[in-house]
């Protein structure tokens, strides 16, 4: 007796569901990757924190002067912008290689493909948590304005992780098939650092502020950054991020349904 075959959509949704519920696997693999890299180092991932901190400490006064900014406002802005940028940029780069790097697993055993993306997200969240030490230090000197708007920070961070999932599956899949894409992406991310308001502020553009606003990365940084440096993000940023989230998931599910089974042949 044959039961009806599950559709490609069912299989893709099942992969997502089983991948997310295999939390013990991706938590372990994410940690594993960090421990592997820093196994014999005394302070481990805090080396990243130190190098990021040194970069911010060096750039802060210099660019503050170049842009003619008040240092007490510019310094926390730069510190938070920079570590949020690092989170997003590393997520983009790691996601594009996630399936390619998991070739060994994908070709040998049945495992939800979603796990390989969640592992990358978890790893980068751990690194981000280490970098939060810098934010804590900066806040010692330039405390944030207390208020309800601070609550938007964890929600914004969660939204970044949620977006990394659709982005990782979609782009990881494309990168597995077309091996030029990871190279293109890493170049775009490099240029993106200068074109996105990380070191500079969107309002420095004056009437050309539209240039920042059409950049999706600006809105992702803004929803994390704005709650910490007073004010809170604009409705435009929240709206842009939510629109991208929904659109991203729709596109990802369509593409993932169609090509999920092909990934094992591509990696």
């Amino acid at each position: 007796m044959q039961t009806a075959r599950p559709s490609n959509l069912d299989l893709a949704l099942k992969d997502l569901k089983n991948g997310i519920s295999s939390i013990h696997v991706w938590l372990m693999l994410g940690w594993q990757e960090i421990r592997q890299r820093y196994r014999r180092s005394v302070i481990g991932p805090f080396w990243l924190t130190i190098s990021t901190g040194a970069m911010i400490a060096g750039m802060g006064p210099l660019y503050g002067r170049l842009f003619g900014q008040d240092i007490s406002a510019y310094f926390p802005y730069l510190a938070i912008s920079f570590i949020v940028w690092l989170l997003i940029a590393n997520l983009i780069n790691d996601c594009s290689n996630a399936f390619i790097a998991a070739e060994g697993f994908i070709k040998q055993i049945r495992m939800p493909l979603t796990i390989h993306i969640l592992r990358v997200i978890w790893k980068n969240l751990i690194i981000f948590a280490h970098n939060l030490a810098i934010v804590a230090l900066v806040f010692l000197f330039y405390p944030p304005e207390p208020g309800w708007h601070l609550l938007q920070f964890p929600i914004a961070l969660l939204l970044i992780a949620v977006n990394a999932l659709w982005f990782g599956i979609l782009v990881g899949l494309l990168c597995a098939r077309f091996r030029d894409i990871p190279l293109i992406i890493s170049s775009v991310v490099q240029v993106g650092f200068f074109l996105t308001p990380v070191m500079w502020k969107a309002d420095m553009l004056g009437k050309h502020i539209w240039f920042a606003k059409i950049n999706p990365l600006y809105h992702f940084i803004e929803i994390v950054r704005a709650p910490l440096i007073g004010g809170g993000p604009t409705l435009l940023s929240w709206g842009a991020v939510l629109t991208i989230t929904l659109t991203g998931y729709v596109v990802m599910i369509l593409v993932f349904s169609r090509f999920r089974a092909r990934i094992a042949y591509w990696v």
């Binding site: 013990h24 594993q32 592997q36 697993f105 994908i106 040998q108 055993i109 094992a264 042949y265």
Partner: protein, 238 residues
Amino acid sequence: MMTSVVATNISVEFPIYGGKSRSLKNTFIRAATGGLLARDAADHVVIRALNDLSFEFREGDRVGIVGHNGSGKSTLLRTIAGAYEPVSGAIDVAGKLATMLSISLGMDTESTGYENIFLRATIMGLRTREIEPLVDDICAFSELGDYIHMPMRTYSSGMSMRLAFAISTSFPADIVLMDEWMSVGDAEFSIKAQARLRSMLDQAHILVLASHDEQLIRRNCNKIMHLDHGQLVSLDSV
């Protein structure tokens, strides 16, 4: 639920994106080894590793897969394992699988032997609470002693294999997939390992073993599947 593997008209094709060669255009080449080379609808070179296979494995089956290099043995094992999904046809696998295709997959040389037990067993699909009761048995069987708390990079290759073997054979499964018979360790350890492997295989409802060794297959299997160029030549009981 009865353990079974049922394949209906399954084909597996590997696209070769770097392999566009004019001489292959619109031709089928039958090489001495390997699957059929062909072109798909989008004009990519593809290797048809499995071509329209249908078979059924039931409880009690001990299937030996034979065929020359590139005949599709490993691809078939990976397709049963669920890593490759057939481009056409369907395969239904009912039962808990143990894939012995790469027994150290997921292990990490910088981690200790003890940590690797959890890494490897998690990759094999076990939960932490299921792994904990197995740890003593794995440590004892692998005879690593205090080395179990040392990073695996300090192990000799034989020691790493012992550990990987001990973990992979530490819990029963309904269906066991093996690419060549596993043998590990020196003469003395090898005897112990064979006994452990046997007892795991005896508990399994279905064994699928790919090998070049006809003698070995005749000793251990009650069905022989012969593959050639990804085609099923014969599937006979012996």
